[in-house]
C-alpha cells in the first residue's frame, strides 16, 4: 500500500521552512519504510499559501505550511497570534502554541477541511527603517511604515503613532529605496532574503509580532489514512518542529549578524519600553477580541503569565 502526497512550500529549500519540511518528509519516509512518499515543491511552485490552502480543502494538494495569518480569514481565532507585542520570548510562544491554546486552535481546523499537525516557527518580527533607531514608543511618531494586507497590521502601526502605508511585497524594496516608506517589519531572515538591509539603516529589536508556521494536511487525504499512519505523521511533524525551530533561531541569529556586518545599526529595545509599546497597543487587542476571541485571548494571556512569573 503506497501513499504519495504533494507538499507545497512557500520558501526555498534552504530556508528554515524548507529545512523543516525536508526533515518531516525524511522522517515520514524512514518511519513508514518508504511506504509514504511526500514530494516537496519549494518556492511556491504550486501557488501561494491562500491558493494552496484552498486546494488542500478541495483535496488536490495534501500538505502546506503557511504562517497562521493565512488562516485568519477563515478562522477568526488564529488572529490572536497576530496581536502586537503578545509574546516576549520564544518560550512564551512555545508554551501557548504547544499547549492547550494551540490544541484548541488546531481543533477548529477539521470542520474547514483541514488538519493542523503542529506549530513551527517563522520568528519574531523587527522593525527596520532608514531614519533613526526605535528605542522608545515616541520614536514611532515620525515614521511611515509598511503595513501588510491585514487590518490588524495597519491598526497596530497607527496605534504606535506611525503612519501605515499598505504595500505588497514586490513593491516593498523600491518603496524603501525611494523613501516613499521609511520602514517595515519582517523577521530578520525575511529582511535579508528580500535584500531590504541594502536600503535600510536601522534595525530595532522591537520583536513586535511572532510568526508561527502551521503544517496543514488536507482532511480529504487524512480521512483515508489508517490510524497508525495519522499518528506517524503527527509525531513526525512534532519531531520536525524541534529541528525546524532550531534552524529558524540559527538563521535568525545569522541574518542579524550579517546585517550588522554590512553596517545596519542594530539596537535592543529595553523590556520597559516594550511593555510601554504593549500597553499602547492594548486598545487593538480589545478592539479585535470579540465573541469567542475573548476567551481565547484570556487563555493565551493566562498561559503567558505562567511563563512570565
Amino acid at each position: 500500500q503506497e501513499i504519495t502526497a504533494k507538499f507545497s512550500v512557500t520558501l526555498p529549500e534552504a530556508s528554515h521552512q524548507g529545512q523543516g519540511v525536508a526533515k518531516f518528509v525524511q522522517l515520514v519516509k524512514e518511519r513508514s519504510q518508504g511506504r509514504i512518499e511526500i514530494k516537496p515543491y519549494y518556492n511556491a511552485a504550486l501557488g501561494n499559501d491562500v491558493q494552496v490552502t484552498s486546494a488542500l480543502q478541495g483535496g488536490s494538494i495534501q500538505f502546506v505550511v503557511p504562517q497562521t495569518t493565512t488562516l485568519t480569514g477563515m478562522i477568526k481565532e488564529f488572529e490572536v497570534l497576530d496581536y502586537p507585542f503578545l509574546f516576549d520570548s520564544e518560550q512564551e510562544a512555545e508554551a501557548v502554541l504547544d499547549g492547550a491554546v494551540g490544541q484548541r486552535l488546531l481543533d477548529t481546523l477539521p470542520e474547514k477541511g483541514l488538519v493542523g499537525l503542529a506549530f513551527w516557527e517563522n520568528g519574531f518580527f523587527n522593525f527596520t527603517n532608514s531614519r533613526h533607531p526605535i528605542a522608545k514608543l515616541e520614536d514611532f511618531n515620525d515614521l511611515k511604515l509598511r503595513a501588510v494586507q491585514a487590518k490588524i497590521s495597519q491598526e497596530s502601526i497607527k496605534t504606535l503613532g506611525a503612519t501605515p502605508v499598505p504595500l505588497a511585497v514586490p513593491e516593498l524594496f523600491t518603496a524603501l529605496e525611494t523613501r516613499t516608506v521609511d520602514g517595515q517589519g519582517t523577521p530578520a531572515t525575511v529582511t535579508t532574503a528580500l535584500r531590504l538591509d541594502e536600503v535600510q539603516k536601522y534595525l530595532s529589536k522591537t520583536r513586535h509580532t511572532y510568526g508561527a508556521f502551521i503544517p496543514l494536511v488536507s482532511k480529504k487525504f487524512w480521512d483515508k489514512l489508517s490510524e497508525d499512519d495519522r499518528k506517524l505523521l503527527l509525531q513526525a511533524a512534532i519531531d520536525a518542529r524541534t529541528y525546524q525551530r532550531g534552524v529558524a533561531r540559527d538563521q535568525d541569529r545569522d541574518a542579524l549578524a550579517r546585517m550588522a556586518a554590512k553596517g545596519v545599526a542594530i539596537n535592543e529595545v529595553s523590556p520597559a519600553e516594550r511593555t510601554r509599546m504593549r500597553e499602547a497597543s492594548k486598545p487593538i487587542w480589545d478592539a479585535f477580541a470579540q465573541g469567542s476571541m475573548v476567551e481565547v485571548l484570556q487563555a493565551t494571556q493566562a498561559e503567558i503569565a505562567k511563563v512570565r512569573k
Binding site: K6, Y41, N43, A45, L46, G47, N48, Q51, S54, A55, G58, G59, S60, A168, P170, E171, F173, T174, A175, E177, T178, T180
Partner: protein
C-alpha cells in the same frame, strides 16, 4: 513520456481548430488523466489563481495607454517627427520607418499594433516615393517586432510572471538589445537600398523640426515616464502602466483634444477585450504550468539536454533553436507561455542569468512573428501593404537575417545584455 503527452495533446487540439487557450487546457487535462490525478478543481483553481495577479494588471493598462494614444493620431505625429529628422537622407523613408518603429516600440508593447499603425501610414508613402514595396513591407514588419523587446513589453510581463523574474529588470535589460535591433535594421536597409535611386525629401529647417518636435513631445514624454519611473524605483510596472494610461488620457483629452466620452468608452472596451483574449490564455497556461510542474516535464527535457547541461551557451542556443522552430508555426504569446515553465527550471539549474535568458528568448520568439509560414506580423503587413505572403517573406528576409545576427551576437557575447542591464540596477 509526459512531455510527449503534453505536446501531442496541445498540437492535436490546435489542429482541430480550437482556440489556443482551450488547446492548452486540453493538454493539461490530458496530463492529469495520464498521471491519474484528474480533478476539475485543479483547473478552476489554477486558472483563477493565474489571473489573480497584480503584476498582470499591467497588461490591460499598457494596452489602454496605447489605445488612448492611438485614438489621438499618435502614430502619425511620430512619423512626422521621424520625417523631419531623417526624411531627407538617401533612402530616407526607410530610416523614418526604423526611427518611428523605435519610438513607437517605447510606447506600446504589441508588435501587431505597431506594424499595423506604421504600415498603414508608411507603405503608401514609400510606394509613392518609388521604393520597392515588398522591401518596404519587410522593413516595417522587422521594425514592428522591436515592440516586445523595448519596454513596455507584454512579452516581458508574461515571461516575468511565469518565470518569477523581476519585470523592471527585464524591461531595463531590453533597451540596449532593442536599440541594437534597430541599428541592425539601419545597416541592412543601407545595404539593400544602396543602389536604388529615389528622390529624397527636402531637408527640413531646424525651426520646422522644433515645431514638429513640440507637437510630438507629449508622446515622447511617455517612455520617459515609464522608463524613468521604473528606473528611479518610483513605480512598479503595474503602476507605471496605469500612470501611462492616465497620462495618455490627459494628453488625448486636454492636449490633442481628440478623446470624448464615447471614444474613451471604446478604448476601454478594446483594451478590456484584447487583454481578456491574451490573459485567458495566461490563465489556462497556468493550469498547464501547474501540471508541467507536477509531471516534472522540465526534468525530462533536462535529461535530454543532459550532455550540454554544463555548457550554458550551448544550452541557451538549443532552447532558442526550439523557440525559433516553434516560432515558425505558433503565435508569440502561446510560445512564451508554453516554453517558459519548461525552460526556466533548467536555466536556473545551469546557473544562467534569468534576465539575460529572458531577453534573448523574447527576441527569438518575437522574430518568430516574421518567419514563414505562420507569422502574425507578416500577415498584418501583407494585408496592409497589399502584397502576397510570398512577396512579404522575400521582402523581410534581409532584415530577418540582420535581427537573427543580433541574437547570435548576444549568444556569443552575453555581456551586451548583462553589462547594460547592470547599469540600471
Amino acid at each position: 513520456m509526459t512531455a510527449a503527452v503534453f505536446l501531442s495533446g496541445l498540437l492535436g487540439a490546435m489542429l482541430l481548430g480550437m482556440p489556443i487557450a482551450f488547446a492548452v487546457l486540453i493538454s493539461a487535462v490530458l496530463l492529469m488523466l495520464f498521471l491519474g490525478e484528474f480533478d476539475p478543481q485543479v483547473v478552476a483553481q489554477n486558472a483563477i489563481g493565474g489571473a489573480d495577479n497584480f503584476v498582470l494588471m499591467a497588461v490591460p493598462f499598457f494596452i489602454l495607454a496605447g489605445e488612448f494614444m492611438n485614438a489621438g493620431g499618435l502614430s502619425r505625429r511620430i512619423v512626422d517627427m521621424a520625417m523631419a529628422f531623417v526624411g531627407h537622407l538617401r533612402g530616407g523613408l526607410g530610416y523614418v520607418a526604423i526611427l518611428a518603429a523605435l519610438v513607437l516600440a517605447s510606447l506600446s508593447g504589441s508588435a501587431v499594433a505597431d506594424t499595423a499603425a506604421l504600415g498603414a501610414l508608411l507603405v503608401p508613402m514609400m510606394r509613392e516615393a518609388g521604393y520597392n514595396t515588398e522591401r518596404a513591407c519587410g522593413l516595417i514588419a522587422a521594425g514592428g517586432i522591436i515592440a516586445p523587446v523595448i519596454p513596455p513589453s507584454i512579452g516581458f510581463l508574461l515571461f516575468g510572471v511565469v518565470a518569477n523574474v523581476s519585470i523592471t529588470q527585464l524591461f531595463m535589460a531590453g533597451i540596449v538589445p532593442g536599440a541594437m535591433m534597430a541599428i541592425s535594421l539601419v545597416a541592412a536597409w543601407w545595404w539593400v537600398s544602396r543602389r536604388d535611386s529615389f528622390n529624397p525629401a527636402p531637408r527640413m529647417p531646424w525651426i520646422g523640426r522644433i515645431g514638429v518636435l513640440g507637437r510630438g513631445v507629449w508622446a515622447l514624454m511617455m517612455p520617459v515616464i515609464i522608463i524613468g519611473g521604473l528606473k528611479m524605483g518610483v513605480f512598479t510596472p503595474t503602476e507605471a502602466a496605469v500612470v501611462a494610461a492616465f497620462y495618455a488620457l490627459f494628453v488625448g483629452v486636454f492636449v490633442y483634444r481628440e478623446l470624448n466620452l464615447k471614444s474613451i468608452y471604446h478604448c476601454l472596451l478594446i483594451a478590456a477585450r484584447t487583454s481578456a483574449v491574451v490573459l485567458i490564455l495566461v490563465a489556462m497556461a497556468m493550469v498547464a504550468s501547474y501540471m508541467i510542474t507536477i509531471a516534472d516535464v522540465p526534468g525530462q527535457i533536462g535529461a535530454w539536454l543532459e550532455p550540454i547541461a554544463d555548457r550554458p551557451g550551448m544550452l541557451v542556443s538549443a532552447m532558442l533553436l526550439i523557440a525559433f522552430g516553434l516560432g515558425m508555426v505558433l503565435d508569440f504569446i502561446p510560445i512564451v507561455l508554453v516554453l517558459t515553465p519548461v525552460f526556466m527550471p533548467i536555466i536556473r539549474a545551469a546557473g544562467v542569468d534569468p534576465v539575460y535568458f529572458g531577453v534573448v528568448f523574447i527576441m527569438t520568439v518575437a522574430i518568430g512573428m516574421i518567419t514563414p509560414p505562420v507569422g502574425v506580423v507578416l500577415n498584418v503587413i501583407a494585408s496592409i501593404g497589399k502584397v502576397s505572403m510570398e512577396r512579404a517573406v522575400r521582402g523581410v528576409l534581409p532584415f530577418l537575417a540582420a535581427e537573427a545576427l543580433i541574437v547570435i551576437l548576444l549568444l556569443l557575447f552575453p555581456a551586451f545584455v548583462t553589462v547594460p542591464a547592470g547599469w540600471w540596477r
